[in-house]
Symmetry: C2
Subunit: 372 residues, 2 copies
C-alpha cells in the first residue's frame, strides 16, 4: 500500500521542512500535529548510518511544553510520579506522565532550564492542554505554553565527533540527558545528550524556527567528513533497543497501560511526601502488582509484512496480550516485535501466535532489549 | 510536492480504513492521531458530487469524547461558554471550547445522548485529556473516555434520499444537529443531521468499529441509485461556505484566537449564573472588543499554488493579520481564502497583499460566507 500525504495548513511544518524537502525526504508521518520525516528513500542505508556513522533527524515534532513561573517546580512535580527533588538545572529526566487513574498519557523527557522554567519534551499527545488545565484548576502560578523550539537530532557513534566539531570538546563531558544553553554562530539553542535511539547522540533544540535551514546546513557541513546523512527515528532500531513509542505501544484512549506494566516501577516514588497525579491509583496498582508485563517477541518464519497496527497475541485462540509493532531485524536475522502479555505467562510459553496479513505465525517471548 | 505517508502503528486506522483502501483512496492526512482520507484520485468530481449529488466520507477521525455520570451536565457546561441550559436529549450544539485565558482550543459539536451522557464530537486536539484533567481536578463525578464511535458522513443535496432509503422517512424531519440512536440491520449507530459542509447531509456515528466495512457497503449500496461516491471533507467547499477548521484557521499553540474574533460572540452567555472555563478572561475580552475579525479574501490574479500553511496578510509590508488557507473556487472563478485581520481595517482597505510561492499577490477583503 502506498498513499500520498496531503500537505495543507491544518498540519504544521517543521522548522526543517524546507531543508528536508530539498534534501530528498520521501515519506512523512504526523506527530503532535506536525509533519515528521520517516525516510529519505533509502531505509537500509539510513539504518546502517545510524548504527555505524551518524545521521541527522528532523524531530521538531517532538514539541516542548514549557512550565514557567514561581511554581513551575511544584507543577512539574505534580505532573509526574517520578520524584524530581534531586533534579539540578541542566539535567534531563525521563518522566512518565499518568492520568488520575494511573494510566500513561505521555512519556516525555523533562529538561530543567532554571528553578522556575522547565520543558517537557513530549511524545505524541497534547500535553500542553493537560498541563494548562492542571495548572489553572489548581491555581499554580505558572504559565504553560509551547515555545518556539525545534529539536534536530544527530545520532550514531560518530555523533560525538560532529557535536565536538560544532560546539567544542565540552560536549564530550555531557552526561546522558545533560544539556546546556548555548549558541552556534548566534543561533540560539539548547544542546542535549539525548535522542530516540540507543546509538548515542545529541539533540539540538533550536530556539528560533526562522533559522531551521541555516542550522540544518551547518550540521550537514560539520557532519560531511563523517558521512552524515538525513534520516528519521528508526522503528527497527527502536525495537532492537526496546525503546518505547507512545501511540504505538500504548495510547490512553485505545490501549491504555500502567507505568508498572511498562517497567517504570523503579521510577515511581510512592514514599515521597508530596502529592502527584494518579497517586492513589498508582498505590493500588503497586499493591496489586501489574496485570501484564512488557516483552520482546520473536516471530518465527521468514520476513513478514507488518500489519501496521497492534495485533492480539493469542494463546489457543484467546487474546492474552498484544503486539504493538514488528519488523525484520537484519542484525538478528529475525522478525522481532514488542508487546504486553498477561503477567502469568512466562517467557517459555508454548503455543503463542499472532495473525499477520500473510497468515498466522508462531511467536516466542523474550526479554528486552534485543540488543544492548 | 508529492510525498508518501507512512502507515504504521503509531497512527490509528479508522473503522472504514480497509473499505476506503479497497475503494481507491489516494491521499491521507492525520486527524486526532488517525488516518483520514483526503481524496480518492478525482478531486474535481468529488467536489461536483458534493454540490450536486451525494458523497460518503470516512470522518471517523472526528473522535467522540464521552462525558458520563451524575455530573456530566455540570462538566459539559463548565467546559464551554455557551449556555446549555435549554439543550434537550437528541439535540446537538456547536460549542466553542476555550482555555482559561479565553482562547479557543477546539470547536466540537456536543451531542446530548441522555441527562447523564454527552459526546463532544471534536476537531483535531486532545480534548479527552483536557476534559479528563478538568473533571478530576474539580472532583466532578463523571467518567471521561473516548468510546468506540466512528462517524461516516453522507453529504450533498441527495444525502436525504440515501438516508431515507436506509432509515425511513423520519430522517427528513430531523432538524440540523438533531440526532437519534438507532440501528441498521443490527448495526448500532447514532444518526445525526450534520456534517462539515453546507450542502446538507447526515453523519452515521457507528458504535461498533468491527462493522465499519459492513456499514460502508450498506451506505454505498443505498446511495448507488443516487450516484454516491467516496470523498472527504472538502477544503474548497469549506472556504466557500465559511466553515471553520481548527488547526488551519487557529491552533492555540501557534495562532491562538478568541471566540469573539471568530464571530462566536452571540454564542457566549456572560450573563449566565454558572461558572465556565475562561469566564473572567472572556468578560475582559468582551469589554475590550475583539482585536481582529474573521474575513474572506479574494486573491487577485489567476489560479495560484497554495502555500500549505498560514501566511501573513501584509499592508505596506507590515503584517496586519494572516490568511489560513486559499484555494481556487470554480464556482466563483476566483482564488479565495479566509483569515483574520486587525479590526480597524475595513473591507474596502487598499494595498493588502499576501506572499504566495509564486510571488506576491494583491488581495481584497470580503464578508463570509462566499456562497450561502
Amino acid at each position: 500500500m502506498s498513499f500520498q500525504i496531503a500537505i495543507g495548513p491544518n498540519i504544521r511544518k517543521s522548522a526543517y521542512f524546507d531543508a528536508t524537502v530539498r534534501d530528498g525526504v520521501r515519506s512523512f508521518s504526523v506527530y503532535n500535529h506536525m509533519y515528521i520525516p520517516v525516510h529519505f528513500g533509502h531505509p537500509d542505508s539510513e539504518y546502517d548510518r545510524l548504527l555505524s556513522g551518524v545521521v541527522m533527524w528532523d524531530v521538531a515534532a517532538q514539541r516542548q511544553v514549557e512550565l514557567r513561573g514561581p511554581q513551575a517546580s511544584q507543577l512539574a512535580q505534580y505532573l509526574t510520579p517520578r520524584n524530581l527533588s534531586g533534579t539540578r538545572v541542566g539535567q534531563g529526566r525521563y518522566v512518565p506522565l499518568c492520568d488520575h487513574a494511573g494510566r500513561l498519557i505521555n512519556d516525555p523527557v523533562l529538561l530543567k532550564l532554571a528553578e522556575d522554567r522547565y520543558w517537557l519534551s513530549v511524545a505524541d499527545s497534547d500535553i500542553h492542554l493537560w498541563a494548562a488545565a492542571i495548572a489553572a484548576e489548581r491555581g499554580f502560578d505558572v504559565a504553560v505554553c509551547e515555545p518556539d523550539v525545534s529539536p534536530l537530532a544527530i545520532q550514531g557513534p560518530q555523533a560525538v565527533e560532529v557535536a565536538t566539531a560544532l560546539f567544542g570538546d565540552w560536549v564530550r563531558e555531557l552526561r546522558y540527558f545533560g544539556f546546556r544553553e548555548t549558541t552556534l554562530d548566534g543561533i540560539p539553542l539548547v544542546l542535549a545528550r539525548s535522542g530516540w535511539s540507543k546509538q548515542d547522540g545529541y539533540e539540538l533544540y533550536l530556539m528560533d524556527s526562522r533559522r531551521g535551514t541555516e542550522l540544518w546546513d551547518r550540521v550537514k557541513a560539520a557532519g560531511a567528513p563523517h558521512g552524515i546523512g538525513p534520516g528519521a527515528p528508526n522503528d527497527i532500531e527502536r525495537l532492537e533497543s526496546g525503546l518505547i513509542s507512545y501511540g504505538a505501544d500504548m495510547r490512553v484512549q485505545t490501549h491504555p497501560v500502567t507505568p508498572y506494566e511498562m517497567g517504570f516501577g523503579p521510577l515511581i516514588d510512592l514514599a515521597a511526601g508530596h502529592d502527584f497525579i494518579g497517586r492513589a491509583a498508582l498505590q493500588a496498582l503497586a499493591a496489586a502488582g501489574p496485570a501484564r508485563r512488557r516483552v520482546g517477541i520473536f516471530v518465527e518464519g521468514p520476513e513478514a509484512s507488518p500489519p501496521g497496527h497492534p495485533v492480539d497475541l493469542l494463546l489457543a485462540g484467546t487474546a492474552v496480550g498484544f503486539v504493538s509493532e514488528i519488523a525484520y531485524s537484519r542484525r538478528l536475522d529475525r522478525v522481532i516485535g514488542v508487546g504486553l502479555v498477561q503477567a502469568d505467562i512466562g517467557d517459555g510459553a508454548e503455543g503463542l501466535t499472532i495473525a499477520l496479513p500473510d497468515g498466522r505465525r508462531p511467536v516466542r517471548l523474550t526479554g528486552l532489549p534485543f540488543i544492548k
